[in-house]
Symmetry: none
Subunit: 193 residues, 4 copies
Amino acid sequence: MEIMKPKDEKKLDAVVAATCRLAAERGLFGLTLTEIAKAAGIGTSTLYVYFADKEALFNEVFRRAKHEAVDFYGSDVDPTAPLKAQARQVWNKMIDHRLQRYDQVSFMEQFVGSSFMNEESRSYSARISGGLTQIFIEGQEAEILKAVPVPFLASLVVGSVRETARLIRAQSILDTEESRTTAFQLCWDGIRA
Amino acid sequence: MEIMKPKDEKKLDAVVAATCRLAAERGLFGLTLTEIAKAAGIGTSTLYVYFADKEALFNEVFRRAKHEAVDFYGSDVDPTAPLKAQARQVWNKMIDHRLQRYDQVSFMEQFVGSSFMNEESRSYSARISGGLTQIFIEGQEAEILKAVPVPFLASLVVGSVRETARLIRAQSILDTEESRTTAFQLCWDGIRA
Amino acid sequence: MEIMKPKDEKKLDAVVAATCRLAAERGLFGLTLTEIAKAAGIGTSTLYVYFADKEALFNEVFRRAKHEAVDFYGSDVDPTAPLKAQARQVWNKMIDHRLQRYDQVSFMEQFVGSSFMNEESRSYSARISGGLTQIFIEGQEAEILKAVPVPFLASLVVGSVRETARLIRAQSILDTEESRTTAFQLCWDGIRA
Amino acid sequence: MEIMKPKDEKKLDAVVAATCRLAAERGLFGLTLTEIAKAAGIGTSTLYVYFADKEALFNEVFRRAKHEAVDFYGSDVDPTAPLKAQARQVWNKMIDHRLQRYDQVSFMEQFVGSSFMNEESRSYSARISGGLTQIFIEGQEAEILKAVPVPFLASLVVGSVRETARLIRAQSILDTEESRTTAFQLCWDGIRA
DNA sequence: TATGAATGAGCCTTCATTCAT
DNA sequence: TATGAATGAAGGCTCATTCAT
């Protein structure tokens, strides 16, 4: 019921992109279907050819944004590199994702916990962040990282990434190699043994 | 014109509390005056005895939440304690605030940057977070904390607090002294020199 | 049921005056009871001590305005004067009334035919314009005025008065003896035999 | 932005007609969109397909009523006829318009000066009443009409028309050739030299 | 009597959704 | 498939009226 006829993938993409962009610019609520359709260059009622209703549209956008996020992280980190370097690669990718896919991230953060979220999206949201966990476990086994439950480590990294990306977007700091190295070093010092 | 007749403080409090609770539970956006009034136990039109309109209501709720936050942080940290202990005290208070005033924090995070925010709220939002900066500066002068721009330090702490509180609320970790000490230690190791 | 307790005539007068003034300034519709009460210097709910409801208030204001109009015309014209002079006196009084009691006239014109008008006011509106008819009859008997049904004569006079007063208020013409004489002469030439 | 999508001219006409009729019957003020829509046989929200808001609706109705008035007076008077005959023709047309387009005239009289009137309508209202002025000037040059400022002449005619039409509508007099001739004669005697 | 506070009813307006083509 | 037109449902807000003092 969620998505009906994925015939014209072009239009679907336009809708998804428009929705994310508008959500980032003006907020997910009260984004109207008229606005979305106009931004996507189609008629309002055409949306109903692709989506059962507004909730289905949002959930599909969420599914795609999540999917693209996974793709974004897809290119695995170099397993032969030192663990800190691997961690830095992942950290970098997380920052890049928040910056380069800002619209989608913005949409997702507004969407999560909203009343639009259906059960499928809720469960879909649970998994993710695979690569990070793997590094944590390896790092703990090698006694490079602190021997604390993984959520503690993950929290610091996620918090670091989120706040650092926010600083960059707010232009409170510049997005230079130096800045990133500094920010990452704080994060790394926090989780290393 | 923001708030009109603060005669019955009881009702006003009920409205503010209901608004924060509903914002935390179902999201700030899409929240209707009917819902708020019902939750506060008054008629919908009675809201207009206290507030000029929906925007004024939200801004007043924000003002109160901010005010309570300031009160919450009010009791200063012990300036004679070692810096790490002082930092821990602030970190603890931030966690406590996010847990004990969850509704209000949730409301504020959703409200900030929303189209409901008026100019007064915007300026009101600027000040805050005084205690933390002071500790950072002292810590850097004493060469206890890393000699990096303050925003880097602040980001790690804020990210740590936010994510740790989230873990506790999600019951991914228990809110014990041990858990807090662990989480804080990661944060501290990140910012210390 | 119309009027309840005419105890405090002062307040009642204030309400009537305020209603007429506001009706003239901003229109009879959507004049609110709150505005009227404020302009009259009393509390909104106090209006209900004097009037059963809004409709009753308006009808009472109408009754009073009508009554004052009758009083205004009260001082009879000089029956010994030539008929044209008598007609001029009445015509003058009608102009004066429209200018000096503009608020009341404005209220009445807006009120007549409105959905507020109850049956009593409707019948009350029928009588009036006594003095004019008397002159017409006398004038026709003396073969000074045209021998046409009185309504034709009355129409021209009423139309003349209304439009002349409008010109004066719009400052399209000055309210001088000369202007009035000119305007009246047209009217008189129309009705005289 | 005044009128949005004049696609279904039938519906638009129904709305305009219904609005005028209701304004004439129950007054322009207090008229609700629900009433108008119901009288026009459409859903309330459908009104917003054709008009931006209530004010736009009223202004469009005014524009159309004014336009139809111009059309009504369109067929010029016979310039070869004697001046009195020309005047009679115009006077007749004015009466006819007030009788045959009563709803529209009633709407316009209530609308003019109301808070609904926008700038466009205000300017639109300025022109009109061209033919009458022309006759006055010619008549004065030919020394057929009184040598007084035109507004005095116009006032008597307008007043005559208005009151005569009112008499006819109230069935105080019959709308016969004789009646009209009588009423016009009074008017003519008033303005002629 | 006088009034501030409270509210139900109803208005204007928006918008997700359906209908007709 | 695609869409302009239509609309029911609901939201924010106003206001005449009532309540409690």
